[in-house]
Amino acid sequence: MPMHDLNVTAVRAVNEALHRLSPDTNETFWQIENPQGKHAIGVGIDAPVEVEINGHVGYYCGGMNKQARLRIHGNAGTGVAENMMSGLVHVMGDASQSAGATGCGGLLIIDGDAAARCGISMKGIDILVKGSIGAMSAFMAQAGSLVVLGDAGDALGDSIYEATIFVRGEVKSLGTDCVEKPMTPDDRDRLADVLRRGGLNGEAGVDDFRMYGSARRLYHFHIDNITSY
């Protein structure tokens, strides 16, 4: 069981060791101590391992992750799990801005709140926030589900493409071209799937949520806007 103390070992050395892992490695459980807000911890892992990080992390933790399951026992700085491809990143505290930005796959769970721009430009990742999210979340979000048990800040889903947002609490305001939509059976299944994968069996029901997505008014040029150009 590899254990690294970031007071002793540099982040780059730990990341290099993680990058050297082969798909059939037996070193499947990693522990990282004293992160103390350092940046880029556990970025670019491509192996089915578990990584426990004991403390607060800085920017981009778990970025570009493939296959690995990272658990952060603390808060995360800007861009946690940005551009994740698959696997799991679980923040047990709060996350700063741009959590899960541009993520292509996998699941990001945030037990606390996420700040502004959560899920900005998400491209297939699923994000479950048990607290609330800040302003401008899911800006230009393209695919995947953003599920929020608490409230959402201003301009939710501005210029959204085909990602889906589920919010249980209040939405302060919707951004341009983002509208509330009725849930289809398929939407209900996807929401239930994220809740189940997030370990919320029965704690939050599908019927408690409202769904938001694109009105698709920005997809094509509209002749009525000709005078705007």
Partner: protein, 297 residues
């Protein structure tokens, strides 16, 4: 980039350690701003006295200054810290001495005026700057530090933060203002003086102007949301206060911690990680366009 740190102590027992804690916080932010660094520290003061922090040019002879000063004021104290000297004078002499300095001593820059506040700033890495000024040996109630990556004006000591435009008032800024020239013109008409072309000095001047009109620190910051355009995280100090404000889209990073012992600000969590018992403090990210202010009674 730029990095900001701030520490407002609630527990008096920590006051002797203020300079040491702030030094360590500032050094963690070196990568965010290697061009220059500065600190404002609020230490012991005396109701009847004013401290002038002056930056001296290379080759200035402090003994000569001392003898020249006797012609202007009879009672003063001078303490020297590297390129800065702190001149402590009686409040009744302040206007005369400041006028004399401005008209006769062009080789001295008046960095700050205050009952409690002293400001030290210099070009170079934070580690160098805190060492030459001996910051880690200083005590006080609250302090603000800044490490700069220059964007809107040159890498000079005058362009280094904190900026002070009023007695015991200072501001540090991460970001850039887009309407600073227009606001500076308006404030000059209102009688405010500016010594640089720097955007952050305008923000400091704006707050001084509002407080001079009678607004509280909190109200001054609230109205800056309407009048200042651009990206900013501001941390502001007054004689007994400490405040934080981010722009409405929270462009620049900010993280705070509050416990029974202190309120702390950092551009990144790394800056807070050096504080005692940080693991037991409430760590949170300040909301956009929301004024956070603390004051000692």
């Amino acid at each position: 980039m730029c990095g900001i740190v701030g520490l407002f102590l609630k527990n008096k027992n920590l006051e002797p350690a203020l300079g040491d804690l702030l030094s360590r916080m500032l050094v963690t932010m070196s990568a965010r701003g290697p061009d220059s660094a500065g600190v404002a520290i609020y230490g012991a003061g005396d109701d009847d006295k004013v401290k002038l922090t002056l930056r001296v040019a290379d080759g200035t002879c402090v003994d000569d200054l001392r003898s020249e000063l006797f012609a202007v004021t009879s009672a003063f104290d001078i303490s020297i810290r590297s390129s800065h000297i702190v001149l402590s004078i009686s409040r009744s002499d302040a206007a005369t001495v400041i006028h004399w300095l401005k008209t006769h001593k062009s080789d001295l820059d008046l960095v700050s005026v205050g009952e409690n506040m002293e400001i030290y700033k210099e070009v170079g890495l934070p580690e160098h700057v805190v060492r030459v000024f001996g910051l880690s040996g200083m005590s006080g109630t609250h302090a603000i530090g800044h490490t700069r990556m220059a964007t809107e004006s040159a890498v000079t000591t005058n362009g280094a933060h904190p900026f002070s435009t009023g007695e015991d008032q200072c501001l540090v800024h991460n970001g850039s203002l887009s309407n600073h020239n227009a606001v500076r013109r308006t404030l000059r008409r209102e009688g405010m003086a500016f010594s640089t072309e720097n955007d952050s000095e305008v923000a400091a001047g704006y707050l001084t102007w509002r407080m001079r009109q009678g607004a509280s620190l909190r109200d001054s910051l609230s109205s800056s949301l309407d009048d200042l355009d651009g990206f900013f995280t501001f941390v502001v100090g007054t004689r007994n206060g400490f405040a934080v404000l981010r722009d409405p889209i929270a462009c620049k990073p900010a993280i705070m911690a509050e416990s029974d012992d202190y309120v702390a600000f950092g551009s990144e969590y790394r800056a807070l990680s050096v504080l005692p018992n940080i693991e037991r403090a409430r760590v949170f990210e300040p909301e956009p366009a929301t004024v956070y202010a603390w004051e000692h009674p």
